[in-house]
């Protein structure tokens, strides 16, 4: 349905998006993960036709949208990261204005406004000014405004940043419902891994302008199939014990965390017995030993060497 081909964007000679290839099939829900500055928002701006790519192409049903973006704009609903609403207008007035600019026919606009308000759970508050809303409520209206023209593809750029858990759940539920019941194709960007895990069947991981991994959740987790991540809590910190663990042949990486040590080792390498021996020798007790079930966060860490919220 929608694909990018070697899409790139440079600002003042610096490449912020580097030849990325993304595709969205009809009815799919796809996540775009990446830390701040990874290039997610620039990618979305290019896909939604707000900025021109430096090179590459964006195709909607096989047809380039670069020169004439009017077709993609018709089928696209974009929820920007910012609250792109008029604070001095009520929720209803905002939706009416954007509905009119989307050229939703007069006779169905009123119905659509009520539908989207119902969808985001703010029908009762429609006559109130946006500036009186909480951050979460504003974000819900922000989504509602992108749904007025019944878009086939919905792009959400970090729609849950800085909001309360209740609104966050509401937003996630709304997006899930849209994807499930209306068959809306969703491209969801976030640096909240758990949201993407909940919502998306497929995930693109982006870092420094590049797609560094993609696939279903299972496919991405399989990247870590050869490794174990072990959290170890010790009674005392010991430099020599750390050096000893690092010297174990199956340990790939050791990081100190605020609760102890985080060890990445070869899968099923029976590290525990070696660790017990080494700690006894140093007179240190092992308080806690836990082999973690890998998550996408671990995949991201494995791929980039940093966490999503770095």
């Amino acid at each position: 349905m929608l694909e990018t081909v070697k899409l790139s964007k440079s600002f003042k000679g610096k490449k912020v998006v580097d030849e990325i290839n993304i595709y969205l099939d009809a009815g799919e829900s796809v996540g775009l993960l990446g830390p701040n500055g990874a290039g997610k928002s620039t990618t979305i701006s290019m896909i939604s036709s707000l900025i021109r790519p430096t090179s590459g192409d964006i195709k909607l049903d096989g047809k380039s949208t670069i020169k004439d973006p009017s077709e993609i704009r018709k089928v696209l609903g974009v929820v920007p990261q910012e609250i792109a609403l008029y604070e001095e207008l009520t929720a209803y007035e905002n939706l009416k204005f954007f509905g009119q600019t989307y050229q939703v026919k007069k006779d169905i606009l009123e119905g659509r406004i009520q539908e989207v308000l119902e969808m985001v759970g703010l029908k009762e508050r429609q006559k109130e000014l946006i500036k009186t809303f909480s951050g979460g409520m504003k974000r819900r209206i922000n989504i509602a405004a992108a749904l007025l023209h019944q878009p086939k593809i919905l792009i959400l750029d970090e729609p849950t940043v800085g909001i309360d858990p209740q609104s966050r759940n509401h937003i996630l539920e709304t997006v899930r419902e849209l994807n499930k019941t209306s068959g809306t194709t969703v491209l969801y960007t976030s640096h909240y891994m758990e949201e993407v895990e909940q919502l998306c069947k497929r995930v693109y991981i982006m870092d420094r302008g590049k797609i560094i991994a993609s696939g279903s959740k299972e496919e991405l987790l399989s990247i870590l199939s050869t490794e174990d991540t072990i959290q170890v809590q010790l009674s005392n910190r010991s430099e020599s014990l750390i050096d000893t663990i690092k010297s174990f042949s199956n340990v790939f990486q050791l990081d100190e965390t605020n609760v102890g040590l985080r060890i990445i080792s070869k899968k099923n390498s029976n590290l525990l017995s070696k660790l017990v021996l080494a700690s006894e020798k140093e007179g240190i007790q092992i308080v806690n030993y836990q082999v973690e079930i890998p998550s996408l966060e671990d995949v991201f860490l494995h791929l980039t060497g940093k966490t999503l919220r770095d």
Binding site: L50, R73, V78, E87, F97, T101, Q103
Partner: protein
């Protein structure tokens, strides 16, 4: 486009601070300035008051007897002599001057004291009196001889005696000069002053009243100057709303709806036009009700004034559109705000919104007359003075043209995709 207009008006309307600034502040300023400067342009009779003594050295009875004797000496027929003497009996030149000086209109300017010549001279020297009007001996005889016997006048003048050539004395000389001049048509008499100046000087500090031309007052000047200045600020206010729209990515959201950018600009332009019209109506109505700035004006005058203000509102709307396009180009809202304030203050100074254009050097006056507010002000003042429709055509065409040019420029510099 109507949705854009409605949105812009609503956004402005809900901003109470801006509403107070745009609608109340000009009214308050006009009222304050009107009271503060009301002395500047007050009517002459209010600004100037003259205390005089009227001294009559002429004896009317003696004059008439002299005249009767002179008539008898002429070669006129008895019937003609009888007719001339009848007319002379009804003519009282000293009385005419006295009546003129005590008529109600003149009395607003002049207070006449009836005192002796010695006392009058003393008071003039002390500064208690502005001047003495002295009707010389033989005045009645001379006037009657000239009027009724066609004799060449001996130029017996009405003397005005004063210590200093003050504005008041100048005004008095004008009054008397004008009166005697009007009598000269019949009497062929002259009048001269014996003060240190000879030529009549128009009253200073008052307003010059020319027949057929109405004058404009300080209140009218401030009403036009302040309302046009604040209208210019409205262009800035509406344009700066775009800063928030840009920052919050509302502009981007609008662009994603496939809306033509012209709708966005037209929304700003038309809403500014409507807001300026509302501002003007409220300001002029409030000021008229509070200060009666345009007393006794005809419906035609008001229609003309509305037409001028509509043309000016169009220009402000064009400016707002230009400012909006500039805002979309600038990344720093403070730069935009500073730039627009500078432009508007510049227009305010050059266009005579802070003080009348007449106070500026000639070259600046010429430039000022081409600024939107300056041109509007000049046109409105002309309209107050002459109410001549033909005076409106050119300036209104220029104002409309400025509006169109501003809009065209704003369209041409409207940022391309990805530049907002």
């Amino acid at each position: 486009m109507s949705s854009f207009i409605k949105k812009d008006i609503l956004v402005f309307w809900r901003d109470r601070k801006e509403i107070l600034m745009a609608l109340l502040l000009p009214i308050i300023l006009i009222v304050i300035l009107n009271f503060a400067f009301s002395g500047l342009f007050k009517d002459d009779e209010e600004a100037i008051h003259i205390d005089i003594a009227l001294l009559v050295a002429d004896d009317e009875k003696v004059g008439k007897e002299q005249f009767e004797h002179a008539v008898k000496e002429t070669e006129l027929s008895p019937t003609e002599k009888e007719k001339v003497l009848d007319e002379a009996a009804n003519l009282n030149p000293v009385g005419l001057i006295h009546d003129f000086l005590i008529n109600p209109e003149i009395q607003d300017w002049i207070t006449i004291k009836e005192i002796s010549e010695q006392e009058a001279t003393k008071q003039v020297n002390n500064g208690d009196l502005d001047a003495i009007i002295r009707i010389p001996e033989g005045f009645t005889y001379e006037v009657l001889s000239v009027v009724l016997l066609d004799e060449r006048p001996n130029h017996i003048p009405v003397n005005i005696l004063a210590k200093d050539p003050s504005t008041e004395v100048g005004a008095l000389q004008d009054i008397v000069h004008n009166f005697v001049h009007s009598l000269n048509v019949q009497f062929a008499l002259g009048s001269t002053g014996e003060t240190v100046y000879a030529e009549p000087v128009l009253p200073q500090g008052g307003r010059e009243v020319v027949e057929g031309i109405d004058t404009y007052s300080i209140s009218q000047y401030f009403t036009i100057a302040i309302s046009t200045l604040f209208a210019l600020f409205l262009a800035q206010t509406v344009a700066l709303k775009t800063v928030t729209e840009k920052r919050e990515r509302v502009v981007n959201r609008i662009l994603l709806t496939n809306s033509n950018p012209i709708n966005f600009l037209l929304g700003k332009t038309v809403s500014t036009f409507i807001l300026v019209c509302i501002q003007m109506v409220i300001t002029f109505t409030a000021v008229q009700l509070l200060l009666s700035v345009f007393p006794g004006k005809t419906l035609e005058f008001w229609v003309g004034l509305v037409v001028i203000m509509i043309a000016f509102s169009l220009t402000v709307a064009g400016l707002s559109s230009l400012f909006t396009s500039i805002v979309l180009h600038l990344s720093d809202s403070n730069t935009a705000s500073g730039l627009f304030t500078l432009i508007i203050m510049g227009l305010g100074v050059l266009g005579g919104s802070f003080f009348p254009l007449e106070g500026l050097p000639n070259v600046f006056q010429k430039i000022g007359e081409w600024t939107p507010n300056g041109l509007t002000q000049t046109t409105a003042i002309k309209w107050i003075q002459f109410s001549d429709m033909s005076d409106l055509f050119f300036p209104l065409t220029v104002l409309t043209a400025i509006s169109i040019v501003c809009f065209a420029i704003s369209m041409s510099i409207f940022p391309n995709r990805g530049r907002i």
